[in-house]
Amino acid sequence: MNLVEVEFTLNGERQKVIVPPRTTLLEVIREHLGLTGTKKGCGKGECGACTVLLDGEAVLACLTLISQAEGHAVTTIEGLAKGEQLDPLQEAFIEEGAIQCGYCTPGMILSAKALLRKNPSPTQEEIKTAIAGNLCRCTGYVKIIKAVQKAGRRSAEVAAHD
């Protein structure tokens, strides 16, 4: 079978995989590398559950072919916390009650992460637009939006202190 060899960094660690060329980044992350924090709700780019960061930008892992990751840095939900120290977004999601079944949560947090990286104090409208491709059936989004705002404020404070 025709295989491709792809090298990329995943959560800061170098990875090399040898897989059929049609393999998606989602399949590599979940099945080949066993990181299941990235979820699959449709596999067709309709739900946002598989959102990961590619060089800091939010992408749908189910629509990304593995070769598109060649030489790039991929961040999944497992790569956000520094040891036991959670990312401000993770903390805010917990504090604000933005999590119910939790299946949308990893993708939601990574879409928000990409937003806050570019825009640390987004408006409600900007947050709504950034997560518009991430479906959540449980929460009604209200507490998710509050959590993103809170995390933005907190990162700004932390940055100001540094």
Partner: protein, 759 residues
């Protein structure tokens, strides 16, 4: 007022960190060495006889381990909570396009997929039964031999003709409601395998592991004790994982191959095969006095349950129970029919029949109110049930009744107080705004005549933690956190010391299903019973250890302390109990109270404990396109005592959005038995961009004496009245009265054109 340490406070979810970090393994995330992959061959026709199934070519494909058909089912080839009328694998007939005809188990998912195409099934197509009302006629083709009417419910109370004779105004209409899809983000899936003890494990997200265990046992002809079902955590349920989804087929795959197998439905397959909300047609004739009081209601409800019964009968029963809203109506005649068709399958869904009849009843009331020139709040206040009243079904409302309280609270909401100002703030002259209000009651628990019980085991570990075991699974609703709060409050210990285990037949006792807004109330009561047994025992042993009288001892934080300030840690106590071989746990039980009468032939009717809710909507209608946007919403909810404040708000927020989706956009379209909406690009649910600017949530705590700390359930009611509130608001904005949902742009646009032509 009672001071609580945990009850009603804002606390972090007990599973929050695991979910936020992606560490939590959902059952579709679990892998095992040597895992095989299962796939299901589904029907090609909505209705057909099976003339033959040839699996030989599929079996010959390298990598295929086994192809399964009805021949491989050792026990009963059927499942279904009420009647097992749905085949695991169809033998003589297929009844909907999602019906399972065969299963493939292969070494590789791609091979399994390829093998599906090699299975040859010879069909003889039958006429498709696609209209529930036509299906009821005697000359309709039959979906099942016994006829197309699965179940009927008839309620007679008072004298309906005498009631109409007293009426000054009679309103008569027909309503239709859409087929909503649960759209849980995690599709149905999981794995099955034999463990070291020889138990067949079936790990699939669902709402009731013990019942899954029985249904699997019946199919396999196995002792249920030989099966372990794990069903927590689950990536959303909403009723759609109450019935069996894939468990029987998956269990059979592992049972036959004796190897671990994974089966996980694609989104399209989930859409086609999975349960939906019953579309209903509702005939209403309602009599009012000039002052707005309700005197009579004659109702006929037809629910399309699709190919198999599942909980269709009880769903129609609940639609009947709520068909008069939370109102006093002395004379009623209500008939409900649950009907088989070839339109997919319908079953349990948050609200369970109540959203359908609430939409109809609230619209009836609004039409009358307009004709009688009455205020929307006043006409409701005049008619609502109060404690001690006789409900339309004939039973006495003996439990707490908070509907009036929710109306009074909602009346003070910003949306209502500022409605005139809000309505005038339209950005463009072609956009018109309107407001609407609607109210509802939702029965909680399973109701009269259905065994409804809970159980909890609370035990102290050697590490000084309390483990709370309750079978009802965590499906996202937050029952684990509610259990932890209830246990910590009753024990008097830190919340962080409580560890909750749910959804596992081996490690948590049967406490019934996570449905019917019942899990916090049922499990909470069982916890209180367990703690009442456990705590005195613990204090007695602690007294022995400290050499003091147990009377003055109390639990505080992670210690048991005496009035003199002496104490031991819970870990010390836990270790002591273990060393001495003493019992460190207790089991608590709870049985639901039930109403004083039973409606014959109606599964579970009536209920005794109800949740009450008032919701309001401000909408903006684009008169050029018919597009409706929800701009503001308000919810006033009586779920009794608030156990978990943030959790309850989250339910109200999520429920409101789901109800708004039902009102405005959601409908699975099936034509002649074939699905036209197959995925999340064609079936649209609300996104963050569909949110109103504001949703005010008010929690009205009318205490329910039978509930833990006075709490009742909440999960369902919160999605119910928002839909008629939205359609009433549309009428207020542009004068279009919708009797069919969803209020999609095309439908509203047609209404607008109709109005112009004076229809």
């Amino acid at each position: 007022m009672t001071e609580f340490k945990w009850v009603g406070k804002v606390v972090p979810r007990v599973d929050g960190v695991e979910k936020a970090t992606g560490r939590l393994r959902y059952l579709t995330d679990v892998g095992l060495p040597g895992l095989l992959h299962g796939r299901i061959k589904r029907s090609q026709y909505p209705h057909a006889l099976i003339k033959g199934i040839d699996t030989s070519r599929a079996e010959a494909l390298p990598g295929v381990v086994k192809v399964l058909t009805h021949k491989d089912v050792p026990g009963v080839n059927g499942f279904g909570i009420i009647v097992p009328d749905q085949p695991v694998f169809c033998r003589e007939k297929v009844r909907y396009i999602g019906d399972a005809v065969a299963g493939v188990v292969a070494e590789d998912p791609a091979v399994a997929e390829a093998a599906l195409d090699l299975i040859e099934v010879e069909y003889e197509p039958q006429p498709v039964v696609d209209d529930a009302e036509k299906a009821m006629t005697s000359d309709s083709p039959r979906v099942h031999e016994k006829g197309n009417i699965h179940q009927e419910v008839h309620v007679r109370h008072g004298d309906v003709e005498a009631g109409f004779a007293q009426a000054d105004l009679i309103i008569e209409n027909v309503y239709k409601t859409p087929r909503q899809m649960h759209t849980f983000l995690e599709t149905e899936g999981g794995l099955a395998f034999y463990d070291e003890e020889g138990l067949l494990n079936v790990w699939v997200g669902s709402q009731y592991p013990q019942r899954d265990q029985l249904q699997i046992a019946r199919v396999l002809g196995l002792n249920p004790r030989k099966i372990r079902v794990v069903s927590s955590p689950t990536g959303g349920g909403f009723g759609g994982k109450d019935e069996i989804t894939i468990q029987t087929q998956l269990a059979l795959m592992a049972f036959v191959t004796k190897r671990p197998v994974k089966l996980w439905l694609s989104r399209e397959e989930s859409v086609i095969s999975g349960w939906k909300r019953h579309p209903m047609t509702l005939y209403y004739r309602t009599g009012f006095k000039r002052d707005g009081s309700l005197v009579a209601n004659e109702i006929k409800i037809i629910g399309d349950t699709g190919a198999y019964a599942s909980l269709g009968g009880p769903v129609v029963s609940l639609a009947v129970e709520s068909s008069c809203g939370p109102y006093r109506i002395p004379h009623v005649k209500i008939d409900g029919f649950c009907v088989y068709t070839n339109n997919g399958v319908a079953g349990a869904f948050r609200g369970f029949g109540v959203p359908q009849s609430t939409f109809a009843m609230e619209t009836q009331l609004e039409i009358a109110r307009e004709k009688l020139v009455l205020d929307p709040i006043e006409i409701r206040k005049k008619n609502v049930l109060r404690r001690g009243d006789i409900a339309p079904l004939g039973h006495t409302m003996t439990a707490s009744v908070g509907i009036l309280n929710t109306l009074e609270r909602a009346e003070k909401s910003d949306l209502w107080c500022q409605r005139e100002k809000l309505k005038s703030q339209t950005p463009f002259p072609w956009k018109k705004r309107g407001v609407g209000v609607a109210i509802a009651l939702q029965g909680t628990g399973l109701g009269v005549g259905i065994p409804d019980y809970g159980a909890a085991i609370v035990e102290l570990t050697e590490e000084g933690q309390f483990i709370v075991r309750i079978g009802s699974p965590e499906i996202g609703q937050g029952n684990m956190t509610a259990y932890a709060i209830t246990a910590a409050e009753a024990l008097g210990c830190d919340l962080a010391l409580i560890k909750v285990v749910t959804g596992d037949t081996r490690n948590s006792p049967d406490s019934g299903t996570s449905t019917a807004s019942r899990s916090a109330y049922t499990g909470g009561n069982a916890i209180l019973d367990a703690v009442a047994k456990l705590k005195p025992k613990l204090l007695a042993v602690a007294g022995e250890m400290l050499g003091v009288d147990r009377a003055g001892l109390r639990l505080a934080g992670n210690r048991i302390v005496s009035p003199q300030g002496r104490g031991i840690t819970l870990a010390e106590l836990g270790r002591y109990l273990r060393e001495k071989g003493l019992e460190a746990g207790a089991r608590g039980n709870f049985v639901w109270p039930t109403a004083d009468v039973q409606i014959p032939g109606a599964e579970g009717l009536p209920h005794l404990v109800y949740t009450y809710v008032t919701q309001m909507a401000l909408v903006e209608v684009d008169t050029l396109t018919g597009k409706v946007e929800l701009r503001e919403a308000a919810t006033a909810l009586d779920a009794g005592r608030v156990l978990n404040r943030q959790g309850l708000e989250g339910q109200a927020e999520g429920g409101m959005v789901m109800g708004a989706g039902y009102a405005l956009m959601e409908d699975i379209i099936i034509e002649k038995g074939y699905f036209k909406t197959m995925n999340l690009s064609t079936y649209i649910i609300p996104t963050s961009l569909d949110l109103p600017e504001r949703h005010q949530v008010e929690l009205v705590e009318v205490l329910e004496e039978s509930g833990p700390y006075g709490a009742k359930g909440a999960g369902e009611a919160v999605m119910v009245p928002i839909s008629p509130a939205i359609t009433s608001a549309i009428h207020d904005a542009v004068g279009v009265r919708l009797k069919e949902m969803p209020a999609a742009a095309e439908r509203v646009y047609q209404g607008l054109r109709g109005e112009e032509h004076g229809q």
